[in-house]
C-alpha cells in the first residue's frame, strides 16, 4: 500500500472518530436529539471497505451510518445539518441520524429497521444487472440482522440470481444488548452465508489494512464472478448501543480489552514506527478535521428549519410520469 493510501485511511478513521465524538457532545447540548448510534470502535470497517467504492456503486447501511455516509461522499455539512433537523440536511431534516440519504452519492440510507436494507441492496444489484450498468451494491449490517428473515430471504435471492453485492456484516458481538452466543444457535456466521452458496470470509475488523486489502480482493471477485460475497468483520463498538443504553450487559473489562485493539491507535503507532507519519503531519491532519467539522456545525447552526406548512410535502411524488426511459429518481 502506498503512503498516500495509508494516510488517507488514517485520516478517514480520525474523521469518523471526531465526528462521532462531536455528535455525542452535541447530543448532551441537546442540539442533536432522537436516537443516536455511534460508530466509535468500528471505524476500520467502513474506511477499509468504502475506500474501494466508486461513485456509481450503491451503498445501503444501517442506523449506525454517519461514517458510511460521509465516506460515500455526503458532506459533513449536510450530515450535521440533518442531525440538527435542518432543511439543508441530506434528508431535509426528515430523516435525522438514522436516515441519511443521498441520491447523488447513491447512498440509500440509513435504515432503522434491522435488516430491512438488505433486500434493497439486492434489488439495486438486480437493477444494475438488468440494465447492464457497471455498479455493485455494498450492504452494511450488524450481526443482529442475521437473525432476521430479511437476511435469509435476501441471501437466497442474491445467490439464486447471482447479484453483484458485497454483504458486509459488522459483527460487534451484540444485537443491541444481547450477546451473539445468547441469540444465535450457530455463531460461525460465514457458515450461514455458505448454506446459501455464497462464499464468505472472516476479517479482523479492527485492522484497517486487512479490511482494505481483503475488500480489494472481494470487489474484484464480485466484478469478475458477477455474484455475491459475504464478509464478516469482527469488530467492537466502544460506546453503548445508543445514547439511551446504560451498557449493563457487558463488563468493563471486556470493553477495555477491546479498546487495546483500537483500530486508530494501533494503526497510528504502526505509521509512526514506519516513519510514514510524524507528529507534525498528525497535527495537520487533526487541524483539517477540526476545521471540516467546526464548519459543518456552523453550517448546521445557520441552516433554517423547514417551514411547518411544508410538513406534508414529499409523502407522494406529485407529477405523472411519461412513458419512456426517464430516470426513476428525479
Amino acid at each position: 500500500m502506498n503512503p498516500e493510501t495509508l494516510l488517507r485511511l488514517l485520516k478517514n478513521m480520525l474523521r469518523l472518530r471526531h465526528m462521532e465524538e462531536l455528535c455525542a457532545e452535541l447530543y448532551t447540548q441537546e442540539k442533536i436529539r432522537g436516537f443516536l448510534h455511534l460508530y466509535i470502535g468500528q471505524e476500520a470497517v467502513a474506511c477499509g471497505v468504502l475506500e474501494h467504492a466508486r461513485q456509481q456503486d450503491n451503498v445501503v447501511a444501517t442506523y449506525r451510518e454517519h461514517g458510511h455516509a460521509l465516506l460515500k461522499g455526503i458532506t459533513a455539512k449536510a450530515i450535521m445539518a440533518e442531525m440538527f433537523g435542518k432543511k439543508d440536511g441530506c434528508s431535509r431534516g426528515r430523516g435525522g441520524s438514522m436516515h441519511l440519504y443521498s441520491a447523488e452519492q447513491r447512498f440509500f440510507g440509513g435504515n432503522a429497521i434491522v435488516a430491512s436494507g438488505l433486500p434493497h441492496a439486492a434489488g439495486l444489484a438486480l437493477a444494475a444487472k438488468i440494465l447492464k450498468e457497471d455498479r455493485i451494491s455494498i450492504c452494511f449490517f450488524g450481526d443482529g440482522a442475521m437473525a432476521e428473515g430479511e437476511f435469509h430471504e435476501t441471501m437466497n435471492l442474491a445467490a439464486l440470481w447471482k447479484l453483484p453485492i458485497l454483504f458486509c456484516c459488522e459483527n460487534n458481538l451484540y444485537a443491541m444488548g444481547t450477546a451473539l452466543n445468547r441469540y444465535q444457535s450457530e455463531t460461525n456466521l460465514v457458515k450461514k452465508a455458505a448454506s446459501y452458496n455464497i462464499p464468505g470470509i472472516t476479517v479482523d475488523g479492527m485492522n484497517v489494512q486487512e479490511v482494505y486489502n481483503k475488500s480489494k480482493e472481494l470487489f474484484a471477485f464480485i466484478k469478475a464472478e458477477k455474484g455475491p460475497f459475504f464478509v464478516e468483520f469482527k469488530t467492537y463498538r466502544f460506546r453503548p448501543h445508543s445514547m439511551f443504553d446504560p451498557d449493563l450487559y457487558r463488563s468493563k473489562q471486556e470493553i477495555s480489552e477491546w479498546k487495546v485493539r483500537c483500530p486508530i491507535e494501533n494503526f497510528k503507532k504502526e505509521l509512526f514506527d514506519k516513519k510514514i507519519l510524524d507528529l507534525n503531519m498528525l497535527k495537520n491532519i487533526q487541524q483539517e478535521i477540526e476545521i471540516e467539522f467546526s464548519e459543518a456545525v456552523k453550517f448546521a447552526e445557520a441552516s433554517e428549519y423547514e417551514p411547518i406548512q411544508d410538513l406534508e410535502k414529499d409523502v407522494y411524488y406529485e407529477n405523472k410520469l411519461q412513458r419512456g426511459p426517464a430516470p426513476s429518481t428525479p
Binding site: Y101, S102, A103, F108, I113, H120, L126, L131, Y316
Partner: protein, 323 residues
C-alpha cells in the same frame, strides 16, 4: 367485446411489459406455473426469465428487492399471490416503500406496483379469505386501487406504472371469471376518482371491489320496488375521492357503506367519519355500514355466506334505512 376480469388483467400486464423494457414481473409462480390465477400464462415463454421472475416463497425478500429495483431505475411489478401473504411483507411495504420518499427528504421515489388478490367467497377459510385493502389505505405514502370492473382491471395497471409512488392493486378473486364489455381508455382516465356507477336519489350506496357487483344487483332489485339508489364505486381507497362521495350524499341525504373488510377500524369507518365531518347537516339519518362479520372467515359455505355482505343483506339494510 366482452372479456373476463382475468383476461383484462392479462392484457394490462402484457401491454405493460411490451410498452416499457424497464418493467418486469416478479412473484411466486408467475412464470412456469403461469400465475396462480393464470393471469401471466405463457408470459415466461414470451418475455423470458429475466422479465418474468419466479421467486421463492419470500414475500418480505422479493417485495424488498422490488423496492431496490425501483430505486435502481426499473419499474417492477411485484405479484403477491394473495393479500393474506402480504402480511409477511409488511416491513417492506409499510416501513420502507411508503416511507423512503419522505425519510429521504423527497430524493427517492419508489415506482413499485404490487398486485395481489383479495377477498373471500370461495370456501378457502380464514387464512385465505382476508380483505386487508382498508388496512393498507391507512398508510400515507401508499396508493390503494381496488378495480371492480373489467375496464378498471384493464386500465388501472398502466396508470399505476405511470405513477412514481408505490401503488398496490387489489384484484378481487371472485371477479376473475366475470365477463363484461371492456371500454377503451378515455384520455382523461384516472384510477384515483370515484365513479357513480348508478344514479339515484334516495340513498348513496358507497362501495368498492368485490362488493360493487352485489351493490348494483341490489340497487336494480330495489329499483323494482321503487327505491332509487345511487351506487358509488370508490376505485381508489387512498387517495380517497371525498368530493364524489360528498356530492352524492348531499343529493341523497342518506348513506350506506358496504365494505368487505371487518367493521372495527375499517375504511367504512373512515368514510362514515368524513361524511359526518363535511356533510352532517345534509344527512337525514345516521350513516350506516354493512361489513364483514367480526369473525375469521369460516370454511363451511353457509357460514361464509353469512359472514360476508350479500345482495339480500344490502337490500334489507337499504329498506330498513328508507322505511
Amino acid at each position: 367485446m366482452k372479456i373476463s376480469y382475468r383476461e383484462a388483467l392479462r392484457q394490462a400486464l402484457h401491454e405493460a411489459l411490451i410498452l416499457d423494457p424497464r418493467t418486469f414481473l416478479m412473484g411466486e409462480d408467475v412464470g412456469a406455473y403461469g400465475g396462480s390465477y393464470a393471469v401471466s400464462k405463457n408470459f415466461l415463454t414470451e418475455f423470458g426469465p429475466e422479465r418474468i421472475r419466479d421467486t421463492p416463497l419470500s414475500e418480505l425478500g422479493f417485495v424488498g428487492l422490488g423496492i431496490g429495483a425501483a430505486l435502481g431505475g426499473l419499474r417492477p411489478i411485484v405479484e403477491i399471490m394473495t393479500v393474506n401473504f402480504s402480511l409477511l411483507a409488511l416491513d417492506q411495504i409499510v416501513n420502507c416503500a411508503a416511507m423512503i420518499r419522505h425519510m429521504s427528504g423527497g430524493q427517492f421515489s419508489i415506482p413499485l406496483v404490487i398486485r395481489t388478490t383479495t377477498g373471500g367467497g370461495r370456501q378457502l377459510a380464514a387464512q385465505h379469505s382476508n380483505s386487508f385493502e382498508g388496512w393498507f389505505a391507512h398508510i400515507p405514502g401508499l396508493k390503494i386501487l381496488v378495480p371492480a370492473t373489467i375496464t378498471d382491471a384493464r386500465h388501472m395497471l398502466g396508470e399505476a406504472l405511470l405513477d412514481n409512488n408505490p401503488v398496490i392493486i387489489f384484484e378481487h378473486a371472485m371477479l376473475l371469471n366475470q365477463e363484461d364489455e371492456c371500454e377503451q381508455k378515455k384520455s382523461d382516465y384516472t384510477p384515483y376518482k370515484a365513479l357513480v356507477r348508478r344514479t339515484g336519489t334516495k340513498l348513496s350506496l358507497i362501495t368498492y371491489g368485490g362488493m360493487l357487483c352485489k351493490a348494483l344487483t341490489a340497487a336494480n332489485n330495489l329499483a323494482k320496488a321503487g327505491y332509487e339508489i345511487e351506487v358509488i364505486d370508490l376505485r381508489s381507497l387512498r387517495p380517497l375521492d371525498e368530493a364524489t362521495i360528498l356530492k352524492s350524499v348531499k343529493k341523497t341525504h342518506r348513506a350506506l357503506i358496504v365494505d368487505e373488510g371487518w367493521r372495527s377500524g375499517s375504511i367504512s369507518a373512515e368514510i362514515s367519519a368524513r361524511i359526518m365531518e363535511s356533510a352532517f347537516d345534509d344527512l337525514d339519518g345516521p350513516v350506516q355500514r354493512l361489513c364483514r362479520k367480526e369473525v375469521p372467515i369460516p370454511y363451511a359455505k353457509h357460514l361464509e355466506l353469512a359472514a360476508i355482505p350479500q345482495v339480500a343483506d344490502i337490500e334489507i339494510m337499504v329498506k330498513g334505512i328508507l322505511k
